[in-house]
């Protein structure tokens, strides 16, 4: 595949190298906290030390007396904001404390050390109210939300309860997923400075366009007075999808002090203020005939939310997509508590939902004595079960079969608990994956310059996906020029507005607009005679009405995950030995960066399966596992060789590139494949994540 950069029309699909790669490996790439503007000060928040109540007094005297301290903003004197649409951004606007960790004051100082010391010296007095942070699925305050992930909270077809009761074979199981934290390597950070009534922020965000509109609204500014720069973003995984308090607080502090101000959250601040994946308790009831055909599928999930705003971890939505069951229930409940507000974490809904559904499928295969790949094949729906729409393309069975072939599945002995290697028990498992195809309207600009090069401009965010690179590929092919003649500019709000990098929709949304702008530029150039004017020729596209048009098609990416694990019977420790994914995700636009996204998400799924999880502490209302020593992101030693493959899909019902999103599907079902492998190894069903030694050892001992 080498040499493609110089070839016309061959850019899409090529494994082009990341355009910002050199900056990243040399340390030249600057992230939000690294804009060392002259006179820059540093802000450090004071988190609430109670789970519910009111701030009655903030004594700043000791803090202000410390050397280098510039100011302490309090709910009394902080700049007043317009009411935000997102209530988590109403920081320092009143005395109420809705959860532990909520910002109750903000110290600003010359140096990070002084700001930290000042924040610690602030004395906050509270009127503490009784709190409830104890999540249970039967909590009396639980309710059925209207919406779950933009879909109805509840979908019911047929008579699922009766069908389940009358089924030949039944599986009735409950799965638990703990709170999970995004923990991008770059903690949320913003640097803000004001020039008169013009605000510039450098922020770590998955979507600068929304940051701009939000800041303009909060600070009552015309949007054109707000500039948002997010050139390099150190990961987000959903937690930077919308503005978080850091950017608001930094702007407030900068306005208050008249200085540029950086607020870089400490790692241990993140769990309470940037969102997390809400824990879920999911009950799955599967009824099937002896032939393995599902007659009833009931998927009910309950998760907590905060009292600041409702967020539903929409785990049951996947059951509207995956399998043909004439009697279907997919329903959500939420329990509002005095806890931090949950939000998006990579494949919100799908990741925990497919963990439970695909684990339950494995249990059904076990009961039926049917191969789990075959069981899934027997339940392929003719149309999308939830909507009745036909699929634009659906190759989940192909993924399963291709994965089985590559993984060596056909030689598998289905009996659990029979493969020993010293003290280790070995097993393999499989699970399917799905993620919806999404796209949002975007604008983009394209410019042809007299020197024969081209510039594409769009306020896209490159959070590590390689957006700069793939958009150049889209442009090159739409223009019919070699890739190395196209430059991309992203990550600044003075570029044409674009939606966020989220929901695996970035490339589709942005690429669509880039394609249109470039296609138009190509036809303008074709009609142009003579040399180009000095300023070149520029076009602009807006996909409103196209990217968001209703589709008659059910559009999803699909995939299959295979895992091999070893379980140590001495310690209960689990080691993944192999992970393999096969995806059907439309056209793969950059083989190199796509592979990295697939395998990276699989590794996050491995973490979800084996090592990651925190605890909502009922006594205090936050997460004791607040740092990276206690919240166990997988390390190098946890990660085996990981393979990702894909099936070429030619789907004309998507977008001009023919692509589906690829950033999240790798985490969907991975934990189930690992868990199913652990069952195959041990003969024991563990229905609560993560699969840490305490749980595994207890299971092994109770079996023996």
């Amino acid at each position: 595949m080498t040499g493609t950069t110089g070839t016309t029309g061959a850019a899409l699909g090529a494994p082009a190298e990341r355009r910002e790669g050199r900056q990243k490996v040399t340390g030249a790439a600057r992230y939000a906290a690294e804009y060392t503007l002259p006179g820059r000060a540093h802000a450090w928040p004071v988190p609430a030390a109670v789970a519910r109540g009111r701030v009655t007094a903030v004594d700043t005297a000791a803090a202000l007396a410390l050397p280098g301290v510039l100011a302490v903003l309090t709910p009394e004197d902080a700049p007043r904001l317009a009411d935000p649409e997102d209530a988590t951004l109403a920081v320092l606007q009143g005395p109420g404390v809705p959860h532990r960790g909520w910002c109750v004051a903000l110290a600003v100082a010359e140096t990070p050390e002084a700001a930290r010391a000042a924040a610690r010296a602030v004395r906050v007095t509270y009127d503490t109210a009784p709190h409830d942070a104890a999540f249970t699925e039967h909590h009396r305050d639980g309710y059925a939300p209207q919406e779950a992930g933009g879909q109805p909270g509840r979908v019911e077809h047929g008579d699922p309860r009766a069908a389940f009761a009358g089924a030949d074979v039944r599986v009735d199981v409950t799965y638990r997923v703990p709170p999970l934290h995004n923990h991008p390597m770059e903690p949320h950070a913003s640097t803000a400075h004001w020039d008169g009534d013009r605000l510039t922020v450098y922020t770590s965000s998955q979507g600068g366009t929304t940051v701009r509109s939000t800041l303009a609204q909060l600070f009552r500014l015309p949007e054109e007075h707000v500039t948002v720069v997010a050139e390099h973003v150190g990961g987000g995984f959903g937690s930077k999808g919308t503005p978080r308090p850091d950017v608001v607080l930094a702007a407030m502090a900068a306005r208050h002090t008249g200085r540029p101000v950086t607020l870089a959250y400490a790692r241990r601040h993140l769990p309470t203020v940037v969102g997390h994946r809400a824990p879920t308790v999911q009950r799955l009831r599967l009824g099937a005939g002896h032939d393995g055909r599902l007659t009833a599928l009931l998927h009910e999930t309950t998760s907590p939310t905060s009292r600041v705003k409702e967020f539903v971890e929409y785990a049951a939505v996947v059951s509207r997509v995956m399998y043909a069951a004439p009697n279907l229930l997919s329903a959500h409940r939420v329990v509002p508590l005095d806890v931090p507000t949950p939000s998006w974490m990579r494949a919100p809904g799908e990741a925990p939902g497919m963990y439970a559904l695909e684990s339950a499928l494995d249990e059904l295969a076990d009961v039926l004595g049917l191969d789990p790949v075959e069981l899934r094949a027997r339940n392929e729906p003719a149309e999308e079960p939830g909507s009745g729409k036909p699929f634009s393309s659906r190759h989940v069975v192909d993924c399963l079969r291709e994965g089985a072939r590559r993984f060596g599945w056909e030689d598998r002995d289905p009996r659990p608990g029979v493969r020993r290697e010293g003290s280790w028990l070995l097993g393999t498992g499989v699970a399917a994956a799905t993620y919806p195809v999404q796209a949002a309207p975007s604008t983009a600009g394209a410019q042809a310059l007299p020197d024969g090069t081209f510039v594409v401009r769009i306020n896209a965010a490159d959070i590590g996906t390689g957006a700069r690179t793939v958009l150049a590929q889209v442009a090159a092919d739409a223009l019919g020029v070699p890739l190395d003649r196209v430059r991309t500019e992203v990550g600044r709000s003075d570029l044409p507005p674009a939606p966020l990098a989220g929901g695996s929709s970035g490339t589709a949304s942005w690429g669509w607009a880039v394609h249109e702008a470039c296609a138009e530029l190509a036809s303008r150039l074709a009609a142009h005679t003579g040399p180009l004017p000095a300023e070149g020729i520029e076009t602009r596209a807006d996909t409103t009405g196209k990217a968001d048009a209703d589709s008659p098609w059910a559009r999803h990416a699909f995939g299959a995950h295979f895992a091999e694990v070893a379980v140590d019977t001495v310690t209960g420790e689990i080691r993944a030995r192999r992970l393999l994914g096969v995806y059907a995700a439309g056209r793969i636009l950059n083989a190199r960066t796509a592979r990295s996204q697939f395998t990276g998400a699989m590794i996050m799924g491995l973490g979800m399966a084996l090592t990651e999880g925190s605890t909502l502490d009922p006594a205090f209302g936050d997460f004791p596992e607040a740092d990276l020593a206690s919240y166990h992101v997988p390390v190098h030693a946890d990660v085996p060789d990981v393979e990702a493959h894909w099936i070429d899909e030619d789907d004309p019902h998507l977008n001009p590139m023919g692509s589906k999103g690829i950033g999240e599907i790798g985490i969907v079902g991975t934990a189930a494949a690992v868990g199913n492998a652990v069952h195959h190894a041990t003969g024991i069903r563990f229905r609560e994540l993560p699969l840490t030694p305490d749980r595994i050892l207890a299971g092994l001992l109770s079996e023996s």
Binding site: P67, E573, P624, S630, A637
Partner: protein, 331 residues
């Protein structure tokens, strides 16, 4: 941390004098835990006394076959020392099972022994902790305590000591050398740390102003079969859920010498004296090991969510004992 003084003494005596001269001072070595705690606000010294330039970074063999390791020898260098690797392998293994390469490159022998618990309630100034703030209560006892103690805890504190190295030192009968206002003294490594009792704020028996000058690995355990095994939540770079260090000498099928210490179970490395006593002179068989290990762990008092540690410790100890015991001669 607020404004901070800094002193860099050139000798141990100067260090001790500096400590006396600066109320609220703390000794600083590798800093991997102290700087962490300074940033958290858990430690609030007025002055740091930097031990980094003291002549305590050497390792010397003593005439009796023991090995003295200076207090500021880095964990990575100690783990790589061929004398340690061949004669006290459990120590090398314990060091390499801890932290990360970067941390081991900074952390020192003395500092490792003095590192503080990673209990999350201890680290959070906004939560009660009798160790950090005596009398404030214990957030962990009824809170999240899967990682906490099952042996020797008190109503005041259920924290565990996080060191891997200290567990190996305890099993290997190492000595800790101290120097303070009253001159030098030695403590057995197994007795260096305290149980929490009524005073969880005190981790060790070190006296105010004393500093660790070194450790001595004794000839009595040199060259004996020894090993360290640790179980954790991820494959590397995590604290022990439980661990064990064992040194074992078997002659004619009979246990001639044994030292066993557990990590992750208590406020200090837990030397399994009951087990050792039962094994001394007993046949080195799996059945004997099983019975003797159970004797010690019968004293465990697990909390709501950490009973697994008892089984885990048992499995680890049996695995290592059986591995170290020579295979019985063919009949």
């Amino acid at each position: 941390m607020d404004a901070l003084g800094y002193v860099r003494p050139g000798s141990v005596q100067e260090a001790v004098e500096a400590y006396a001269a600066h109320p609220g001072a703390r000794y600083l070595a590798g800093g991997t835990n102290l700087v962490d705690l300074l940033k958290l606000g858990v430690e609030k010294p007025t002055t740091l006394i930097d031990l980094g330039r003291l002549p305590l970074d050497g390792t010397e063999e003593l005439p009796d076959g023991s090995l003295r390791v200076g207090a500021t020898v880095r964990n990575s260098d100690l783990a790589a020392d061929p004398r340690v690797r061949t004669r006290w392998p459990a120590l090398s293994q314990a060091l390499l099972a801890g932290a990360s390469a970067q941390l081991r490159n900074a952390a020192t022998t003395g500092g490792n022994l003095l590192q503080r618990t990673r209990c999350p309630y201890f680290q959070d100034l906004d939560k009660p902790c009798n160790k950090r703030e005596p009398g404030s209560g214990c957030g962990a006892r009824d809170g999240v305590h899967r990682d906490h103690a099952v042996l020797g805890h008190s109503a005041q504190c259920i924290a565990t000591n996080p060191s891997d190295m200290a567990v190996a030192l305890a099993a290997l009968d190492a000595q800790v050398e101290l120097y303070g206002p009253d001159g030098p003294r030695r403590l057995p490594a197994a007795e260096f740390h305290r149980l929490p009792g009524e005073h969880p704020e005190r981790d060790t028996w070190i006296r105010p102003g004393e500093l660790i000058t070194g450790i001595v690995l004794p000839a009595a355990t040199a060259g004996l079969p020894s090993a360290y095994r640790k179980a954790r939540d991820r494959a590397s770079y995590a604290f022990a859920l439980a661990s064990v260090a064992v040194v074992l000498r078997v002659g004619d099928g009979v246990v001639a010498q044994v030292g066993i210490a557990y990590g992750g179970l208590a406020h200090r490395p837990w030397r399994a004296r009951h087990t050792e006593l039962a094994l001394q002179g007993a046949a080195a068989t799996p059945a004997a090991f099983e019975g003797a290990v159970a004797l010690e762990l019968a004293h465990a008092e697990p909390l709501r969510d950490n009973a697994y540690k008892v089984s885990l410790a048992r499995n680890l100890a049996l695995d290592v004992l059986n591995r170290l015991a020579p295979a019985p001669a063919p009949a």
